[in-house]
Structure formats: structure tokens, C-alpha cells
């Protein structure tokens, strides 16, 4: 099986879906000749032309709103938001329109769009090129929110997102783009949206995460193994709707749960995950449900010591896992 990077998986999924279905097209800022500021759409303009790889004016609400209209007509638009931080001007179109199109029309219309957005920090991006914005979109039924952590999951989930009949927000951790590499099968496959994945089997503690921090947890788990503790690691992959069964099963398995995300702790995804566990299997727990996230500050600062302070890393994650294991 070939080994590709996280961003190559994005590009491959886009390319193969555009080859498969003429209705699929990409729109966004600098996605054309430039191939995207992260090069996620590299080569697509050359292969599919400027109509299907469309550089739009600098206007996120229009990018999403136009995608909604095109999808209603019957296309399969994939909108790129250059940085997740800049999705804010499009929030009205996403929450009021895309999420509610099917429901408000009693199923007469629907909104099969994908909105791709690179998120996350640790790239000297400062306050506005580092944010984790996923929590904002995980309380509105009608939407689906996906945040994969490996090239294999990116490829399989982005294809499913493009084929989905409902709007999907697809968050790509920008630090994973080139850092994370992995094997993908040669033969075509998809991964169902809404299913979490056990990335490591263990018995002593359960770690639930997604994105870059999932990798920190896997690294920390190796170190923790040397201390004689085995960690069970669940990758949420889909953040909304959550895979309740998988979450509860993983929590039950060890009775000690640590939820980890880069986003700040309060109001982050970890809250809902914790609440599900506290509601479904409280009496099977042997420790308080722990959450590890970024500090509760408005966003990640630019200055290296501050960015380092904000970002999680394998050491911080290891410390939290060890503490829970020893509880």
C-alpha cells in the first residue's frame, strides 16, 4: 500500500471524486492557478479547468451561499475556506441555510455541499490562523462535522462527504498536512461518516481525541506502556453527529476517560463527549472524566513561548494520561 501525506489524501480524494462525477466542483480563494495556499487543490486547475476549480472573489458568505444554490440546482460543490478562522463571515449561510434547507422544505430540497477548512495551530499562525472552530458547528442538527487524523481517514471520509446528501464541514488539521503520513489501499474505498475508530487497544485508560492531538496521544501511549499502563485510544473522526455507541463502549472498557483536543477546554467538543459518558455509563467509571484542552484564552498567540504554552504536545498529553492511569 502506498504511503501518502495527509494533504495528498485531500488532493487525491478531490481529484478522484471530480473524475468520478462531473457535478463535483471546487470553489474558493486561490484554489485555481495557485492550487490553494496549502496546495490542497494542486493540479486540479490543470486537469479540470477554471470552471470546476473556481477562484472566487474574497467573500466567504458568498462562497458558501453560492455553493448552497449550486447544490440545490443539482451540483456537488466543495467550498474551500482558506483558514477555518475565516469561516465566521459564512456562519449565517452555514447554520441558517445549509443546515436547515432540508428540514425547512420538509425534504423537498437538500444541501449536498462540502465545506473544507484547514484548522488548528502550532504553525506560527497567531490568533487568526490557528483556531479550532469545530465546536461552533457541533450543536446544529442538519450539519455533519468531520475531522480526520490520518491520510487513510481523510481519503475515505472526504469521499463520503462529497457523496453525502447533506452538508458536511470537513476540518483538516493544517499541522497534519505534511507531518502525518500513512498507508492507503490502492483500491477505492470510503469510510462512513458518523463512525469513530479505535486507533489503539488498551485496558487501563481510555483516551478520546481527534486531529493532531490524537497523534500526541498515540505517542504518549507508547511512553505510558513503558510505565506498565496500556491506553485505549478512540479517534472520534466525526464530531457531529457523535458516535455515541463507540464513545460509551470505549469508556466502559477501562472506566477511566481522558478527552483531549487542541481547542480550548471550556465549551469544546470534550464537553459533549463527557456528558454522554456521564449520562450513559457513570457507574462504570473508576475516575472522574478528565478533559485536556487548550487554555481558555481567545486564541493562540504568535510569540513562540506563548504558542508553545497554548499548544498541547506529547509531553503534556503523557503527563495527563499518566496521572489518570495512576489515579
Amino acid at each position: 500500500m502506498p504511503v501518502i501525506s495527509y494533504i495528498e489524501a485531500v488532493t487525491t480524494a478531490l481529484k478522484e471524486e471530480m473524475q468520478r462525477d462531473k457535478r463535483v466542483f471546487v470553489l474558493g480563494e486561490d484554489v485555481g492557478v495557485r492550487g490553494g495556499v496549502f496546495r490542497a487543490t494542486a493540479g486540479l486547475y490543470e486537469e479540470f479547468g477554471e470552471q470546476r476549480v473556481m477562484d472566487t472573489p474574497l467573500a466567504e458568505s458568498a462562497i458558501v451561499g453560492v455553493a448552497i444554490g449550486a447544490a440545490a440546482y443539482g451540483m456537488r460543490p466543495i467550498a474551500e475556506i482558506q483558514f477555518a478562522d475565516f469561516i465566521m463571515p459564512a456562519v449565517n449561510q452555514i447554520l441558517s441555510e445549509a443546515a436547515k434547507m432540508r428540514y425547512r422544505s420538509n425534504g423537498d430540497w437538500n444541501c449536498p455541499i462540502v465545506i473544507r477548512a484547514p484548522y488548528g495551530g502550532g504553525v506560527h499562525g497567531a490568533l487568526y490562523h490557528s483556531q479550532s472552530v469545530e465546536a461552533l458547528f457541533c450543536s446544529t442538527p442538519g450539519l455533519k462535522v468531520v475531522a480526520p487524523s490520518t491520510p487513510y481517514d481523510v481519503l475515505g471520509l472526504l469521499k463520503s462527504a462529497i457523496r453525502d446528501e447533506d452538508p458536511v464541514l470537513f476540518f483538516e488539521h493544517k499541522r497534519c498536512y505534511r507531518l502525518i503520513k500513512g498507508e492507503v489501499p490502492n483500491k477505492e474505498y470510503t469510510i462512513p461518516i458518523g463512525k469513530a475508530d479505535v486507533k489503539r487497544v488498551g485496558d487501563d485508560i481510555t483516551v478520546i481525541s481527534y486531529g493532531i492531538t490524537l497523534h500526541f496521544a498515540l505517542q504518549a501511549a507508547e511512553k505510558l506502556a513503558q510505565d506498565g499502563y496500556s491506553a485505549h485510544v478512540l479517534d472520534l473522526r466525526t464530531l457531529y453527529p457523535l458516535d455515541k455507541e463507540a464513545i460509551v463502549e470505549a469508556a466502559r472498557k477501562t472506566g477511566k476517560v481522558l478527552i483531549i483536543h487542541e481547542d480550548n477546554k471550556t465549551g469544546g467538543l470534550g464537553a459533549e463527549v463527557s456528558a454522554i459518558i456521564a449520562e450513559e455509563c457513570l457507574f462504570e467509571l473508576d475516575a472522574p472524566i478528565k478533559r485536556l484542552g487548550g487554555p481558555d484564552v481567545p486564541a493562540m498567540p504568535y510569540s513562540p513561548p506563548m504558542e508553545k504554552f497554548f499548544m498541547l504536545n506529547p509531553d503534556k498529553v503523557y503527563a495527563a494520561m499518566k496521572e489518570l492511569a495512576e489515579f
Partner: protein, 334 residues
């Protein structure tokens, strides 16, 4: 004897009488809704009254078989012209399961229906503008020559989505008719506190396409400018912004009281220019309508409205449990 405007526009006598019918139908359905609201039978009404001429004049210029509509909440005249019946409208007013717009999920005025080529609309104003642009883009990608109608009020032309949508359409020369129904108010806020430009049409030049202001109380004049704009759009010459200057004859909605922000005299003055009054006079002057034929037209409409009200009032509500359906694609139901 006045000159026959409609023939010059290529409209038959039958067609202009149909225009009058749709204008009157919208007015009468709307009036009935107010009665039903005051009688406590329906919770909410938002009106087309005063804007029927602009709406029907514009809608008639489109091709029901291939064009698309992204109307706003006052466009009863537009959706009626595209086929929405008094019964459909009443089913929505009563929030009944059969309502083709939303199955009773949305307030009246939130039009939608694939069979009528109307994209479902919401309440946050102006969000439909980028949608119309997206539909036009998709049509262009498919090589179709369909044109998209999108409407909004004067106040709503100040939303960012108007700007972003119009600019996108201008850059890509998309077949969209931006139809601004300028009724001089945004609820209580007068035009002078909404915009500082002479006409909403002045905004078009900033997007590189034509902007035209037209008397919204003259359906034939509206038809003419919209028709020309549609022809340009069909042959790839891009969008047009059209401002139809009109007036809202009733309060903003059944929850509003307009006496706090405008004088009765002002409203009475506007009633004299009511498109229904003026168009009726025109049709009589050119000799294709008389008291008798008008009377029977209104009797027919009256019957339609009665039947629709009767039907809708007794139609079943959606079930409580159906609240949980149509959130996502329901695989089994495929």
C-alpha cells in the same frame, strides 16, 4: 382612448387579463389571511399588499418551464404566477401537513417548492441572494439558458449577502435578475435611514452590470424592463439589478402597528397609486375589461379563496412526531 401599451410589449389581451387575475388573487388571499389572523385562526400574516403589480409584472417576464425563483416573503404575486395556488398558500397559512412550501414547518411567506421551480427560503433576509447566484452558476455550467429571479426589500439591500452575491454574479456574468422591491420602509425604518443613494439601482455599477429603477405600480413597465434584462441574461450578457419603486399598504406584518411610524395621509396617498386600481383602469381604458367582467373575475377569485380557506382549515396538521423527520437524508425512505 389611451394607447395600448401591452400590445406594443407583445402581450395579448388574455395575458394582461391573466396578470390582473394573479394580482387580484394575491391581494384577495392576503386580505383573507388578515381576517383569519384577526379572527384568531392563523397566528401570522406578512403581506404583498401594494406590491402585486411589481411582482406579477416581473414574474410574467420569466419562463415557468426553465427559469428559477428565489423569492422573498412578500412575493405572493410572484409565486402565484408560477403556479402556487390559493389552496397551497392557505395550507401554509394554517401550517398544515399538505403545505407544499414546508409541510407547515415555516411561517407563511417562506415560499418553496421544486415543482414550481421555487427554492425554499428562510427568514434571515438576503441569504437567498447568493443562492440565486449559485443556481445561475450551476445552470451556466450545464450550458442551460435558464435565468434566476431573486427578490429582496430595500432595507435588505444593505446586508452583506446582497453585496457579496451581486459581486459574484457580476464577475462571472451570471443570468440573475436582482429584483429589489423598494416599498420605502424596513418595518418602521424609512428609506432615508436605510440608504443614502438616490436609487437602489445605483448599486449596480459597483458590480459592473446595469441597474434600472422602474415604477413598481405599473406592471407593464416592470414587465418591459425585466423582459429586457432576462433577454440579456439568456444570451450571456450577465445580471441586472432592477429596483421596483412601490409601497407597502398595510403594516409590516400582523405583529406590527404602522401608526407609530407613518401618517394615515401618507398611506392614503399611496392607495391612490395602488397597482390594482391603476391596472384595472388601464384594462378598462383599452377596452378589454368592464364592470361586469371585473365583477365576475372577483367572484371567481372569491370562490377560490373560500374553497382554499375551507380546505386548509380542515386539513390535518403534521403529526407531533414528524418534528423529528427530514433532518438528514432518511436512507430507508429512499
Amino acid at each position: 382612448m389611451v394607447e395600448n401599451k401591452h400590445q406594443a410589449l407583445g402581450l395579448t389581451d388574455k395575458q394582461v387579463l391573466d396578470m390582473y387575475y394573479y394580482m387580484a388573487l394575491a391581494r384577495k388571499v392576503d386580505e383573507r389571511m388578515w381576517l383569519l389572523n384577526r379572527a384568531g385562526k392563523i397566528p401570522f400574516v406578512i403581506s404583498c399588499q401594494g406590491q402585486e403589480g411589481a411582482q406579477v409584472g416581473a414574474a410574467f417576464a420569466f419562463d415557468k418551464t426553465k427559469d428559477w425563483l428565489c423569492p422573498y416573503y412578500r412575493d405572493m404575486g410572484v409565486v402565484a404566477t408560477f403556479g402556487m395556488t390559493a389552496r397551497d398558500l392557505m395550507l401554509s397559512a394554517f401550517a398544515k401537513a399538505e403545505d407544499p412550501n414546508s409541510g407547515g414547518r415555516q411561517m407563511p411567506g417562506h415560499f418553496g417548492g421544486k415543482k414550481y421551480r421555487i427554492l425554499s427560503g428562510s427568514s434571515p433576509v438576503t441569504t437567498q441572494v447568493p443562492h440565486a447566484v449559485g443556481m445561475a452558476l450551476a445552470g451556466k455550467m450545464e450550458g442551460k439558458d435558464s435565468v434566476v429571479y431573486v427578490s429582496f426589500g430595500d432595507g435588505s439591500s444593505n446586508q452583506g449577502d446582497f453585496h457579496e452575491g451581486a459581486n459574484f454574479a457580476g464577475v462571472h456574468k451570471l443570468p440573475v435578475i436582482f429584483f429589489c422591491e423598494n416599498n420605502k420602509y424596513a418595518i418602521s425604518v424609512p428609506l432615508s435611514k436605510q440608504v443614502a443613494c438616490g436609487s437602489i439601482a445605483d448599486r449596480a455599477i459597483g458590480y459592473g452590470f446595469p441597474g434600472i429603477s422602474v415604477d413598481g405600480n405599473d406592471p407593464l413597465e416592470v414587465y418591459r424592463v425585466v423582459k429586457e434584462a432576462i433577454e440579456r441574461a439568456r444570451k450571456g450578457a450577465g445580471p441586472t439589478l432592477i429596483e421596483a419603486v412601490t409601497y407597502r399598504l398595510v403594516p409590516h406584518s400582523s405583529d406590527d402597528d404602522d401608526r407609530s411610524y407613518r401618517s394615515r395621509e401618507e398611506v392614503e396617498q399611496a392607495r391612490k397609486k395602488d397597482s390594482l386600481v391603476l391596472f384595472s383602469a388601464y384594462l378598462k381604458e383599452v377596452g378589454i375589461l368592464d364592470e361586469d367582467s371585473e365583477k365576475s373575475l372577483f367572484e371567481q377569485i372569491q370562490e377560490e379563496v373560500d374553497e382554499a380557506t375551507e380546505y386548509a382549515e380542515h386539513a390535518p396538521y403534521p403529526t407531533p412526531e414528524s418534528t423529528q423527520t427530514k433532518v438528514y437524508e432518511e436512507k430507508e425512505s429512499l
